[in-house]
Structure formats: C-alpha cells, structure tokens
C-alpha cells in the first residue's frame, strides 16, 4: 500500500472516530441519557437532576434542547416511557393498561404525548389523569387504560399519532430524594399491552 493511501486511511479513520464518535456519544448522552444522569425503573426513565441548579451538563443540555421547564427534582420527578414493560415501542395502534398502586401521600399525574412531546389530538380533549381526577378501585389502586377508542373507567385517548410517550409525574420529596440517592424505592407501575390492531 502506498504512502498516500496509508495517510488517507489514517485521515479518514481519524475524522470518523473523532467527529463521529464525539458527536454520536454527546447526542446519546443528551437525548437518551446514561446512568450518570438518569435512572430507569422498568419502562420508565427519569433525569435525576432535572431542574436543579447544580445539574450535570448532560441534564442541562437535555432540558434546554427539548424546551423543558422542569420543577426541581428535589420535589418532583418526571418519568417518561417510550416502550411498554415488555420492551415494545408504545404506539397508538395498541391498548395499554397502567395500574398505579395506592400512591398516598404522593401527588401524581399520568399524561400521554406524541413522540415530539405534543398533546395527542382527540375528540374528548383528555390528555392526562391525576390522583384527583382518576377513579379508584375499592382497594385503592387506579387502573388507567390508554387506547385509541373509548373504554370504560379511566380512559386516556391515544389518538392516531403513531408513536406515543407516557409521562408520569410524581410529586413526593421523600421519593425524589430516594431516587436521587439510588436507594431502593417503591416500584413504578407496569405498562401492560392488552391488544393491538
């Protein structure tokens, strides 16, 4: 192999590793997050330092790039799920059931968005349930059904938006502190796929 070819190969590899690797890893750390900045509970992921003034650069970049305005994670945690509990991508063509156990004294809200964080268009103009609006079972549990068509009980319409994202907001300072410290905490609800069409 000639000297020119050798130099060319080294130049291409250098550029690919330096710029491809640098940009790719930065994009991944900012958009998807890693163990340095997020914690995952089944399908739910939260940015543990979101909203805090002392947040790490990845969390700050994630917040700014996505136009988010989070309340400090010392008080409130926002969990996002893009997949169900079996790992399949959430989509408006499937129905899902989310059962929240008795979460007292925490205040919570479960909302559905499309893949870009916009509210899903639906005739009922219903986009979320919280612990004051959702109906509870006699045993204190709350079952929420995410589906395109109307369902009895707590029905959250998923519209026809294709990919959907579920966002669970939990306001509980003790829980937030435990998650931030990496301590064992109460479990988050599973997202069970019940049907697809």
């Amino acid at each position: 192999m000639s000297l020119v070819t050798n130099a060319l190969i080294n130049l291409v590899v250098f550029a690919a590793v330096a710029f491809g690797g640098g940009l790719g890893t930065a994009w991944y750390m900012i958009e998807a997050g890693s163990r340095l900045s997020t914690r995952t509970f089944g399908p739910w992921t939260t940015w543990t330092a979101a909203g805090r003034p002392e947040a790490d650069p990845y969390t700050r970049a994630h917040t700014a790039r996505n136009g988010l305005l989070p309340v400090s994670s010392t008080l409130e945690l926002t969990f996002r799920a893009k997949a169900d509990s079996s790992g399949s991508r959430l989509t408006s063509t499937c129905d899902y059931t989310i059962v929240l156990q008795d979460t007292e004294p925490a205040w919570w809200s479960l909302a559905v968005f499309d893949g870009q964080g916009k509210l899903v268009q639906n005739g009922a103009e219903r986009h979320a349930f919280n612990n004051q609006t959702a109906m509870r079972e006699p045993d204190g549990r709350t079952a929420i059904v995410v589906a395109r068509d109307a369902r009895p009980g707590n029905w959250l319409p998923s519209g026809r938006s294709g990919r959907i994202v579920l966002v669970l907001t939990v306001q509980d300072a003790a829980f937030a502190a435990a998650v931030h410290d990496g301590a064992q905490t109460k479990s988050l609800p599973e997202i069970q796929r019940t049907a697809c069409r």
Binding site: M1, T5, N6, I9, N10, V13, F14, A16, V17, A18, F19, G21, G22, L23, T25, A26, M29, I30, G51, R52, P53, P57, Y58, R60, A61, T63, A64, R65, N66, G67, L68, L69, P70, V71, S72, T74, L75, E76, T78, R80, W107, S109, A111, F113, Q116, K118, L119, V120, Q121, N122, E125, H127, A128, F129, N130, Q132, T133, V167, T169, Q171
Partner: protein, 194 residues
C-alpha cells in the same frame, strides 16, 4: 471461553494500516468534541423554554395561560392537567413583588432562571395558609436587603437578573376550572420601583 467458529473472521486489510497514534489522537479529539457539543447544545436548536416563552409573556406581569389543549401547547411535555400562571421578570429596574395562591396538593410555585434552573420551589401542601408573598431581588443586592419594608418581608434572591415565575394549579375537573382559574388570577408579579 474459547469459541470454535467454523470460519475465521477476517478483518479488512486496511485496518492494519491504521496507526495507534491515529486512534489515540482521534479519541482525544473525540473527547474534546464531545465536551464542546455537550456545552454548546443548550445554545443551538429551537431554543430553551425561556426563549420560547419570551415572545408570549409580557414583562413583570402575571399571565394566566389558557388550559393546555392539542395544538395550543406552550411547551413540550408540560403536564396538560394543569392551569399555569407565568410571569417573565426582569430585576434591572428594581425588585419584583410576587404574590401567589398555592392552595393544595399539586399546586406549585416555582422560580426559574433563563437556562431552566429551578432555584426556588414551593409546593402547595406544605403551606399553612393558601397565599404566599415575597420580594424577588437580584442575588447579592445587599443595598436592597437593608431596605426591607418590614422584618416579615420575605426576600428571595434570583441568581440571574431575569427569569420566569410559574404558578401551577392541577385541574381537578371541569366543574372546578373556573374556581381554579379565579384563584390563579389572584397571583401577581409587580416591579417595585427603586
């Protein structure tokens, strides 16, 4: 563990031409690119929440925003089962007097820098009375700190001369929408002239 593959994987010949110096240099530069991109990311793109809200929010005035609906969202992923009152403040002309009702579970009063840092937060359930009032002053404004109106006049220092005040009220149903809206409208944000 030794794998007995039926074939021997062959790497392309050109890989042998890549020098370790090239890889080391590329890894070093890749690290620098990673750091630069991470710190530059907030500065590029559609803009952070403050930049997106700057055009819609008047200065030093609390505005109750319409209930979130599809196609009428002010920010992505903002909890939709809430009503929001927001004030874009600027402290260069003097401190800002803030009054807000934070009257129950789910209610939150939060103060944010233009970068989105939430430097002060007050959840509803921790309050004894429903209403809170304080003076928002620039950080390190010792001169103003000495001119307190009274000993009970609470001051909150803002790390930046501008930012956002957000009062968030959970929607507990259509029947309570007007009542929640009325309580939110009691919130205010007024500049106190020096």
């Amino acid at each position: 563990m030794i794998l007995n593959l039926p074939f021997k994987p062959r790497l392309p010949a050109w890989i042998g031409e890549v020098s370790w110096r090239t890889l080391a240099g590329a890894a070093f530069l890749g690290g620098a690119v990673h750091i630069c991109v991470t710190f530059a990311a907030p500065l590029v793109g559609a803009g952070n929440a403050f930049q997106q809200l700057r055009a819609t929010l008047p200065l030093n005035r609390m505005v109750v925003l319409p209930a979130p609906a599809s196609g009428k969202q002010i920010l992505p992923y903002l909890p939709p089962d809430m009503l929001y009152a927001m004030c874009r403040y600027e402290l260069t002309g003097g401190p800002v007097s803030v009054t807000a009702a934070v009257s129950g579970p789910g209610w939150v009063l939060s103060l944010h820098t233009p970068q989105g840092d939430n430097f002060y937060v007050l959840p509803g359930q921790q309050l004894r009375s429903g209403e809170v009032s304080f003076l928002l002053v620039p950080s390190g404004d010792a001169a103003h700190a000495q001119r307190r109106a009274s000993a009970t006049d609470t001051q909150v220092a803002s790390p930046r001369p501008e930012g956002l005040i957000v009062v968030r009220a959970p929607l507990t149903g259509l029947a309570w929408l007007a009542e929640t809206d009325a309580v939110l409208r009691r919130s205010s944000c007024t500049q106190v002239k020096r």
